[in-house]
């Protein structure tokens, strides 16, 4: 059960800053209060305006359809040797349409051994989930996947 233990240890050691976003399946105008950060602003705050390269080195795992919009599991796995010279420095999870687009930030070091992070986020409706990864050379990689949030009801 190597994988399970790994995930567990990740949870124990996590430095998750999951930012709560009030969400409702149907509320179009979620989070117009204080806690507002648009997707573009969130990306700019992370990259400082640097371009992020689309990359298939990031494996982003999300459900096609969320089982529950309030807890959507997200896994980010970055292909990296995780050496001092070449490692993943940070993994950021963002959503394109949440009131606050910045869902989670985690800082990594070569000690983490893997460029891996798993968490759960809230999604206020159907939108893209984005993984934004900072490498030790200061460059950024990114990838996105769409997650559908629906009340469902068929059979």
């Amino acid at each position: 059960m190597e994988r399970r233990n790994f995930i567990k240890s990740m949870c124990a050691a996590s430095v998750v800053a999951a930012i709560a976003t009030p969400s409702s399946l149907l509320a179009k105008d979620a989070a117009k209060g204080k806690n507002v950060l648009t997707y573009d602003a969130a990306v700019a705050a992370i990259t400082g305006g640097k371009a992020a390269t689309q990359s298939d080195k990031i494996k982003l795992t999300v459900p096609e359809i969320a089982e529950n919009g309030a807890v959507v599991p997200v896994k980010v796995n970055v292909e990296s040797p995780m050496t001092d010279a070449d490692h993943v420095k940070a993994i950021h999870v963002l959503s394109t349409k949440n009131g606050n687009a910045r869902c989670a930030d985690v800082m990594l070091t070569p000690m983490n051994a893997k460029g891996y992070f798993a968490t759960r986020i809230k999604l206020a409706g159907t939108q893209d989930v984005v993984a934004l990864v900072e490498l030790s050379d200061g460059s950024f990689l990114t990838t996105a996947k769409s997650v559908k949030v629906t009340i469902g009801g068929c059979g």
Binding site: L26, E67, G152, G155
Partner: protein, 591 residues
């Protein structure tokens, strides 16, 4: 059923018998009657065998252990890119696609056309006592050890006897039929504990690679709930069978039944199992036993390599011919016990070199009932016969389920709810299971259960804002008409009573519905409406739920029919499709 000589000839012609036996005089007289009976059965099971291994496939029986009438859809509308493709064809378009002659047994089984008339001629469909002789015949022909019976799920739910025995009657029926391996969807609506109990009673195996523990605090977090695969040796070959239960169970059905379990397509782990079974377990053939839905499985075959066969389910399509996507052969065997699919596989040098497939129609009048099956059905129905055989009333016209937006039996259910709950608008789920009652026929309590027998039958009445109702309809429409099959959930549109609307299928998500009227007036987005609903999740977003008037839908509908004695339901839909001209369009959206 009285079969006269003319009918015999038509049955014979429909089965392609006349050519085979040459000359019509064979069917004259009493001796001819006997002969056609034998010939009919032999023709149902007639098959060009291949290789040494056989898989029999059933799916979506919905607990119909007795024969029934089941009419296929007369309206089956999809996203434009999918129009006219298998999974989205019906009626004449279906007959043309599969080269089926009108008026034949195949036309009766596969399409809605002339249904009431053909029903009188060919009789009821399915029933375990009529399925069993087909299974026995194949096992005798091939050797029982070379035959597997695989079940794609939606087997334990759908009738009164299933509901009242919490699935046990149906597991008994599966054991009688000899189900070797199954997956699930509605099975899960009995709740986690009962699912495990019933699996304990099942002689076969329940497998799923896509159901995992979802509780981060449990010791089994992200562990599998069921064995992911099964390896069977038949006809000298090793078959790896991987299970796919319904990926969207937790959004399609109440979460409370599967709290702590996570579903999903999980095609990445599916690929890992495929690779592992090939490399480490050295299987000769990979079969995915699936409840994903026919169109989802066609997409799945584009994402996962190395699968020989997908035995699909969920969407209730009868598909006489296989679909081939990237070397994966996809099969689906209808619903309600109407067919037994037979797949013969020829394996040489650890590779599938040939196969043959046929949907064998379970025509109850052509297949003599197996006594043990009749007895089994009687045993389980006996305690409930008095209640279930009550004649509630009769129907003037055809009562049927299916169709994308509207069907007469749904309309009857909606009228009953409207009458009792006095709400402005009612929602009925767009399930694809149910029953059919012929024009002039008695409506039994059993028939009402066949339309509504679920473990959460409560009719809820509550408030919703116009805006919320409208957004809900758009949300549901996007689940049905999304151009990407992976984002569809395989049902039909929720039915509405007390309202009408127009729809543009090809419009973008959120912009499909127009001209939405409630009580004959345009919907007021700011107004609060009184809404009744069952079988879904809508009450969770409503306010002012009236706890006092909650009742099971089958009681509401039964009372309404008793009160009215004769029901006469319009065949006209309350939904207007703006960008398609007919119910069964062919490719290119033409009719």
């Amino acid at each position: 059923m009285e079969i006269d000589r003319r009918d015999f000839l038509q049955i014979a012609a429909s089965l392609g018998l006349l050519g085979a036996v040459g000359g019509t005089n064979l069917f004259a007289g009493e001796a001819g009657k006997e002969r056609i009976k034998k010939l009919s059965f032999s023709n149902v099971v007639d098959f060009e065998a291949k290789g040494k291994a056989t898989i029999l496939h059933i799916c979506d029986m919905h607990a119909h252990i007795k024969p029934l009438y089941w009419r296929e859809p007369s309206t089956l509308i999809s996203a434009k890119n999918l129009v006219g493709t298998p999974g989205f064809i019906c009626g004449e378009a279906f007959q043309k696609h599969y080269n089926i002659q009108p008026g034949t047994l195949d036309a009766y089984f596969d399409t809605h056309n002339d249904f009431s008339e053909l029903a009188k001629k060919f009789g009821k469909m399915g029933g375990i006592a009529h399925m069993k002789p087909i299974i026995d015949h194949v096992k005798k022909e091939r050797g029982a050890k070379n035959v597997l019976l695989l079940d794609s799920g939606d087997t334990w739910q759908g009738t009164a006897v299933a509901l009242k025995t919490a699935g046990e009657a149906i597991v008994d029926a599966q054991n009688y039929l000899g189900v070797d391996v199954m997956v699930g969807h509605w099975e899960f609506t009995y709740g986690k504990e009962r699912v495990h109990e019933l699996i304990g009673k099942l002689d076969g195996e329940f497998i799923s690679q896509n159901v995992i523990d979802n509780d981060p605090f449990s010791d089994d977090f992200e562990e599998l709930i069921f064995p992911p695969y099964s390896i069977k040796e038949i006809g000298g070959a090793k078959i790896g069978i991987i299970g796919q239960s319904f990926p969207f169970t937790s959004t399609a059905n109440p979460k409370k039944f599967t709290e702590g379990w996570s579903f999903g397509l999980r095609h990445e782990s599916l690929q890992e199992y495929v690779n592992m079974l090939r490399k480490e377990k050295k299987v000769d053939c990979i079969v995915v036993l699936s409840h994903d839905g026919f169109s989802v499985d066609q997409e799945l075959a584009k994402k996962v390599t190395g699968v020989d066969f997908i035995l699909s389910g969920h969407t209730h399509d009868p598909s006489p011919d296989p679909i081939i996507v990237n070397d994966t052969v996809i099969l689906i065997s209808g619903s309600h016990g109407k067919y037994v699919g037979r797949l013969d596989i020829d394996i040489k040098n650890k590779k599938v070199v040939d196969y043959n497939f046929k949907l064998m129609p379970v025509a109850s009048n052509l297949i003599p009932a197996d006594k043990a099956g009749v007895d089994l059905v009687e045993k389980w129905y006996k305690p409930y016969n008095k209640e279930l055989n009550e004649v509630l009333g009769t129907t003037k016209g055809l009562l049927y389920k299916r169709d994308t937006f509207y069907s007469t039996f749904d309309s009857l259910i909606g009228m009953a709810i409207e009458d009792e709950m006095k709400s402005d608008i009612n929602f009925n789920p767009g399930y694809r299971w149910g029953t059919t009652v012929l024009p002039g026929g008695d409506i039994l309590k059993d028939n009402v259960y066949e339309m509504t027998a679920i473990t959460y039958p409560e009719v809820y009445t509550f408030d919703l804002k116009g805006e919320v109702i409208f957004n809900l309809m758009e949300d549901i429409a996007d689940n049905v008409f999304n151009a990407n099959p992976l984002l569809q959930q395989g049902g039909d549109m929720s039915r509405v009573t007390g309202a009408s609307y127009s729809i543009t299928i090809s419009a973008p998500s959120g912009k499909r519905i127009s001209d939405f009227m409630i009580g004959g007036k345009p919907i007021d987005m700011k107004k609060t409406y009184r809404v009744s609903s069952w079988g879904g999740n809508l009450q969770n977003v409503g306010e002012n739920l009236d706890e006092k008037i909650i009742r099971p839908v089958y009681e509401v509908v039964s009372d309404y029919i008793r009160k009215n004695k004769v029901v006469d339901i319009s065949m006209e839909s309350n939904v207007k499709v703006l960008d398609m001209d007919c119910g069964c369009p062919v490719k290119g959206a033409k009719c």
